[in-house]
């Protein structure tokens, strides 16, 4: 029945070739599968798991900051961030157009921002930070047309009084590349908020808390299917400052429109009650990620509003430095209560003439009067007799040229001239005239207002200086005290009680009958010293340092006005106002 096939032989030949070809192709597939599944299996398995396990970070609320009476200064508020999840967008152009109409950012910019972000298609790309309520409502209403747009609530730093104590509080911002490299993983990830300046930076570890988060299984749309692991964030701890809100505010108003600092502290503990710096800025503009125009404006401002003058600024102290000269001379026995020096209005040393600020001269003066009237000639004489070597010994005892150790970052140390220093930095030998200049706080000497403040504290406490600090205690988020900051001795000097007594008397007389009369308060025995420092930047700097009450000091004050004119005229009244305010509060 079966007839022989009529299929030509050459066709059969070809079919055999075809069969071989197919065998080869299928073999290649088998080998590839072997490679992919058997050899690379583990690697791909890990990638598959990585694909669907996401770590969702939950930020810890940053610790709040209170004043010494536990009045709230800095807190966190919820800010709404408008973001787009690239993987969920169907038509980016259309979406950008619609979103643009609501939030007012150009559609090109929106779509470009989304396109530029390539890392992870399921991660929201931030379009608008800190969106206002009106826009939020509009977005919520049009949710259906805005597929892929999400509103995320993020804690945002809120400085309640804007430019209040800005230099002390500092500000926060997104961690930058350098910081990331320095501190790095796993402590920080890109996009984390950290303290960038001031207390926010110094106490960052305490304020920041610990990020929590969860490990979730997600599907391809990034939707959570199951939570595998949950770690609750640990909120940051709160800081209670030594700052008194009202006194600080009062000081800031006094310096409004001026350049300078006011430091008010309790000499018996080192607690800073007010640390005023002007001009100032609002840390809130950093909290939302500062715009480049704001940054440009702040950083190029000729008045340096970002600089914490009391901690980072270095200035000629001028006549207030005479207290150091006086102490050194008394301790070295160069002068005593009785020694009188005659001021004719000028002083000659090695052919060079140095003049007193009072051209007609003070006549014959004791050391107490010398301080009270701030006679230059008196201190030239002491300085000449002291010599730079002995002088330097006392500068060291006061801790000048060192950081005060305040709990703020980037503290400056100033410039303390000495023979070696001059040789190294100016490439000149030390002339006797340099010592004369130093004896009245002029010349190469540069101090921070904080260092100057330690000088007056030293006198007020008669040799026991506590470390200046801004934080009184640390409390946990639920209100329990974690750590009470105890007063800590910064410097203890062993000058004789008599020395202190004479200096204090001089300072008291300064207020009663000398250059500091504008700081006199009837009800309060104030002691102090004024200073007017020549400087290469122009108008003289005005200084006032003081303490009160005279018999048993409770408060020390330093007022510094950059290019502020005469210390007695401008700084002393401000000190007086601060002291009056302080004692009003106490009543």
């Amino acid at each position: 029945m079966r007839e022989s096939s009529t299929v030509p032989e050459d066709v059969k030949q070809r079919l055999n070739w075809l069969l071989i070809f197919m065998v080869i192709c299928l073999s290649i597939l088998v080998i590839s599968l072997w490679y992919l599944q058997m050899i690379k299996g583990e690697e791909f398995r890990e990638r598959a798991i990585e694909n669907c396990i996401r770590c969702l970070v939950e930020d810890a609320p940053r610790g709040r900051i209170y004043d010494r009476q536990e009045k709230l200064l800095v807190t966190n508020r919820p800010a709404v961030v408008v973001s787009v999840i690239p993987a969920e967008v169907d038509d980016l152009e259309k979406l950008s157009e619609r979103l643009s109409k609501i939030i007012g950012i150009s559609p090109e910019k929106i779509s470009q921002t989304v396109k530029n972000y390539r890392e992870n298609p399921f991660k929201p790309v931030k379009i608008l930070d800190d969106c206002n309520t009106n826009k939020i409502i509009k977005i919520e209403e049009r949710k259906d047309e805005l597929k892929g747009v999400v509103l995320e609530v993020k804690p945002r730093r809120d400085y309640l009084y804007h430019d209040f104590a800005a230099h002390s509080l500092g500000y926060v911002g997104e961690i930058d590349k350098e910081e990331l490299q320095q501190f790095g993983n796993p402590k920080f990830q890109g996009g984390d908020i950290i303290g960038k300046a001031g207390l926010e930076k110094y106490y960052d570890d305490i304020l920041r808390g610990e990020k929590g988060g969860k490990e979730v299984e997600v599907d391809a749309l990034g939707q959570e299917i199951a939570t595998l692991l949950y770690q609750k964030p640990v909120p940051g701890e709160d800081l209670v400052l030594t700052i008194d809100r009202d006194l600080q505010l009062y000081g800031e108003n006094l310096l409004f429109g001026k350049k300078g600092s006011i430091i008010v502290s309790d000499p018996n503990s080192g607690e800073i009650l007010a640390l005023v710096n002007r001009p100032s800025f609002s840390p809130n503009i950093f909290a939302n990620g500062i715009s480049s125009s704001d940054w440009q404006r702040l950083s190029s401002d000729a008045d340096y509003p970002l600089t914490n003058r009391s901690v980072q600024g270095v200035y000629s102290p001028g006549s207030i430095f005479k207290v150091v000269t006086a102490i050194a001379a008394l301790e070295e026995g160069i002068t005593d209560r009785k020694r009188k020096i005659y001021c004719s209005g000028s002083f000659e040393l090695a052919g060079q003439i140095f003049i007193c600020w009072k051209e007609t001269g003070h006549g014959s003066l004791s050391i107490v009067d010398g301080i009270a009237h701030s006679c230059n000639i008196y201190f030239y004489t002491l300085g000449k007799d002291l010599g730079i070597e002995r002088f330097n010994k006392y500068l060291q005892k006061f801790g000048l040229g060192e950081k005060t150790g305040i709990d703020l970052p980037a503290e400056a140390i100033g410039t303390i001239p000495s023979a070696q220093w001059k040789k190294k930095e100016v490439k000149e030998i030390w002339f006797p005239g340099d010592t004369i200049n130093l004896s009245i706080g002029q010349g190469y000497l540069l101090l921070t207002p904080l260092q100057v403040h330690n000088l007056i504290t030293n006198i007020a406490t008669e040799g026991e200086v506590y470390k200046l600090h801004l934080v009184k205690k640390i409390i946990s988020a639920d209100g329990n005290t974690v750590e009470e900051i105890k007063p800590e001795i910064y410097k203890k000097v062993d000058f004789s009680l008599d020395t202190f007594k004479i200096i204090k008397e001089g300072l008291r007389q300064t207020i009663l009958k000398g250059t500091g009369w504008r700081a006199n308060i009837k009800e309060l025995a104030v002691a102090g010293k004024t200073g007017t420092a020549q400087n290469p930047q122009g108008e003289t700097h005005a200084w006032f340092i003081g303490f009160a009450p005279y018999e048993d000091p409770e408060i020390c004050i330093t007022v510094f006005l950059e290019n502020g004119g005469e210390g007695g005229e401008t700084a002393a009244p401000i000190a007086r106002a601060m002291l009056e305010k302080y004692y009003d509060i106490q009543k």
Partner: protein
Amino acid sequence: MKEKIDRLTENLDFSLLFATVFLCFYGLLVLYSSTRLATTGGSDPYFFVKRQSLWMLLGFLFLTIIISIDYHNLERYSKVIYFGAIVLLIMVIISGRSTYGARRWLAIGPFDFQPSEFAKIALIAFLADFLAKNKPKLDNFFYYLIPFAYTGLLILLVFMQPDLGTSLVYLAILIIMLFATGVKIKYLVFTFLAALSSIPVLWIFLKDYQKNRLILFLNPNLDPLGGGYNVIQSRIAIGSGGFLGNGIFSGLQSQLNFLPAQHTDFIFSVIGEELGFVGTILLLGLYAIILWRGIKIALEARDLLGTLLATGAVSLLFFHIVVNIGMAMGMLPATGLPLPFLSYGGSFMISNLMVIGILLNVELHKVKW
């Protein structure tokens, strides 16, 4: 009648039929795994499986019809079949339903069907008849070009939809059938070189997305979110299956929807992930049986027409298998060719079973009845 059934049972290639049925059920299982969580069918996890089963039944009906008509009838009707396909393809371009910017579908009542799938069968039938009748004349180069013209018309119509993958299937069928017919190798080499040199010209006619696919094939990481995403996720899925796989219904990539088009073009990846090397080798084994039986049928056919019909059928299946699996593993560009008996899709399912019908038909008629 009894005699007919006896002959049927005597001559029917049961291993071919068995492999086909096994593949169909294998396909339904994997389809269920990859679609049970899909939301397209509402809450019914069997939505896709039910529909696919219906296509299968229809496919077996077509298979039976094909078996019962002696393939020698083609000698009279091949041209009618060919022009029928042309008409359908023109209708698609004129009034087809479009999805994702391509017109591929014609509506018949509640169902859509894809004429380009049936045009494959028509092409095989037409070419087999044409080549069998004209084998000696093909030594003439100009005569050799005629089947290119016929096939070219189909390719052009499908390319206009546009459907690059299917038009490549037509070309593959033509080349393999010409090769089997015994045309001069130098002609084929020449054709290949001519095609190669015309690529720059064709490039101009490619749609942007087609160009992108080719670029992305060369470097899938270029756009991990767009076209390259599919291939990367597919490789991860297949690779992560390892030897035994994650177990059916438990592929991370497939169950969590990381795999795109996982019930159609990328269903192979689901097998790879959930059933591992064992599952993929089983699949390749079943295909190997079908292809081997197909070649055997071609070799044992009664005449050249039968041989070429079987060869065309084999070449169609072979091309789909290699291109689809190669694409899933990232070895070949993503052309969107589905996997025979596995990928979800009515027209494709039916045309696959019709191809098996052709093979069985040639097998049954290797002796005169």
